[in-house]
Amino acid sequence: MRKFIAVVTREFRERVRTRAFVISTVLIPLFFTLMIAGQIVLSTRGAGTWRIAVVDAAQGSFGARIEAALRDAKVGTGASAAQKYRVERITAAPGRIDAVKDSLVPLTGKREEVPGKLDGFLLVTEDALTSGAIPYYGGNVGSLSEMDNLQAALRPVVLTERLVREGVGAVAVQEASGRVELVTSKITDGKLTGESGESSFFLVYVMTLMMYFALLFYGIQVMSSVLEEKTSRIVEVLASSVTPFQLMLGKVVGVASVGLFQLGIWAMAGLYLTANVAPILSILHMSSDAARGVQLPTVTLPLLAVFLLFFVLGFFLFASLYAAVGAMCSSQQDANQTQHPVTIGIVLGLMTMFPLMNDPNSTLARTLSLIPFTAPFATPIRYSVAPLPLVELLLSILSTIAGVLIMCWIASRIYRIGILAYGKRPGLAELWRWVRTA
């Protein structure tokens, strides 16, 4: 046992001391913070005010209504709200519409400032009213969220205009077509959590991504650590006093504890930051409105426990496979090629995220949380998106543990022989022989 602890401590001590550890501990959260801050900035400031022309070739007040609706659209909330669109209405006879369009195109989407410059223009015709398809030409059509905003602003106008033409009073239409939206709140196990649907989505998203990066990052560290011992030939001294299984497990546990230590540092920093969001934002000259825009999700203790449990299980599973890969190779290049199947396993796990979040109780979801390779991702996702029956949770844990034990055993059989074998990388048949020999 003391030898095993010595292996674990060495792995931990040597890794935590490296410059790479310090740098990654600081840079990774910084990267995430910048990403999130960037999203906040983009969502609040938008891309400024859009200059839009409304080419009005329709009858009656349809064009004017559109102009008014766009003028009313705001960006931001409260006192800092600003006009979203600067609108210019150009009336055109129905026959002249192509000519007007041709004259507007050269002014649209220009990089440099020109008089009368436009971001885009709408062609409002009688056709558009009947078919519901309003042509828009602009430099910003690639931005899906901008197009959504524009469409959302136009939809009630089309509705109003159609109803008015059917003889309904404009005021009545206005009152009838007030905004309707779903305000979501999550209930977990019969208790209100105070989270909105969006924030719980955000939470799963971030935690799953973290799991993905951690498995990949630390798994590869196990692999290169095994490889280092093998290429530096120190493994022979180790093998004369520690069993290969102790050595492999010590390495996996050592690297895992580095990972948990790093996650711990981040969690502490995260707690500190969330407790002090407002003062920090004010330092960054951002209004606290912006902070309210991203509601920070609360992580419940059971959810955290499930995530950590599956992170540890997943880590043992994949890290032992990475260790086996390291043991069967003799050079870094060799290992880089051989690791692909393991890495693909982790990527597949990540890819289960979206189907699972859409339908966390489908047969697919149930199956995925019983397969040891995908369960480390699938089960925590299902657990956080929808209530997961206890039986299913336990079954998933048991099958994953069984999978971890089997994979660790196979990996240790490969490791045992691999660490002392140099030269050509073994083929599958050879590997199978390694696993079987006593």
């Binding site: 030898k3 060495r10 490296t18 022979e236 520690v242 030269g423």
Partner: protein, 318 residues
């Protein structure tokens, strides 16, 4: 003979395509220096790995200190310097040694204290906080040598310990090895350099192509091999001398270095006739001495010159 520290009983190890060790038995008594000799690729390292439980023999058994327990569980009593030297390149010297002591069962503080003492003794006192990769190859070898001795093992196994060392460091290590043996501990070392083994070993075993050729106390081995050996030094007419040494009526085997030679007399030949022939040939004889056979000549005679070239084998199992 004292109770054997290492008993190897008819072990065989096969690797894909060839047999590295065949039906080998050895008995290494407590105390003294035991030399495991053989040409490159004879199976020395494989034998040592099986003694240390790094490899498991296909058949046969190994016992350490009379125990049937696996060698790895006795590692607190065994020190090992492998042929392929290796340390963690990024680790500091002192940390490295502390770790090597720990996996041999020492407590960390104790391990650190002992490491310091050894580093001072072998002239590495200023290097304790340096990374291994900053050390020269010779220094690294000394660090690893220390690593195999930190826990005062009863049995020290050194695989080719002197290869690649300069004469000064070679001497330093030799002194340590001799001191360990003098303290009553046992040293097992392998080499293919016979002069070294001859000066240091109390007992030797010669293996070739995975099989034992002979073993025993060095003095017995020499006595058994016969006393019909003559050491010669001549100063001129080397060609005539060489012709005489090739005469099967006089000489059974000659190890000819041009200006000097060690010969084994033919069974019907006698020293007088050889001396007369050499004097007649006017080779300027400056030495003519009846000697014990050297280990080198025993080795060549037993193993055969052709065994000095190992058969083609996979590097993986060297």
């Amino acid at each position: 003979m004292a109770e054997a520290v290492v008993t190897v009983d008819r072990i065989t190890k096969r690797f894909a395509g060839h047999t590295a060790v065949r039906d080998l038995s050895l008995s290494i008594p407590a105390g003294g220096i035991f030399g495991l000799l053989g040409p490159n690729g004879a199976g020395k390292s494989t034998t040592i790995r099986m003694i240390l439980n790094i490899l498991v023999p296909d058949t046969g058994s190994v016992r350490l200190f009379g125990n049937h327990v696996a060698g790895r569980d006795l590692s607190a009593r065994v020190g090992y310097l492998p042929e392929e030297r290796g340390l963690y390149r990024k680790m500091r010297v002192l940390d490295q040694l502390a770790f090597l002591g720990e996996i041999r069962g020492l407590r960390r503080l104790d391990s650190v204290r002992r490491a310091r003492t050894w580093l001072e003794r072998l002239g590495l006192g200023d290097w304790t906080r340096k990374k291994v990769e900053d050390l020269s190859k010779g220094m690294q070898q000394k660090v690893q040598f220390i690593g195999s001795l930190l826990h005062d093992p009863e049995l020290v196994v050194l695989d080719e310990p002197f290869s690649g060392l300069d004469p000064v460091n070679s001497q330093l290590m030799k002194d340590v090895v001799v001191e360990i043996a003098r303290e009553g501990r046992t040293v097992l070392f392998s080499t293919h350099i016979m002069e070294q083994a001859e000066r240091m070993c109390d007992r030797v075993a010669i293996i070739a192509r995975g099989e034992k050729v002979l073993d025993g106390a060095l003095s017995e081995v020499k006595r058994d091999f016969g006393t019909r050996h003559v050491a010669l030094v001549f100063t001129r007419n080397q060609a005539s001398a060489a012709r005489i040494l090739r005469d099967p009526a006089l000489v059974a085997r000659a190890d000819d270095y041009g200006g000097s030679a060690e010969v084994e007399l033919a069974s019907e030949g006698n020293p007088d006739r050889l001396l007369r022939a050499l004097v007649d040939a006017d080779v300027g004889l400056s030495r003519f001495e009846i000697v014990e056979p050297s280990l080198q000549s025993i080795f060549i005679a037993k193993v055969g010159a052709e065994a000095a070239v190992a058969p083609a084998r996979e590097e993986a199992h060297a």
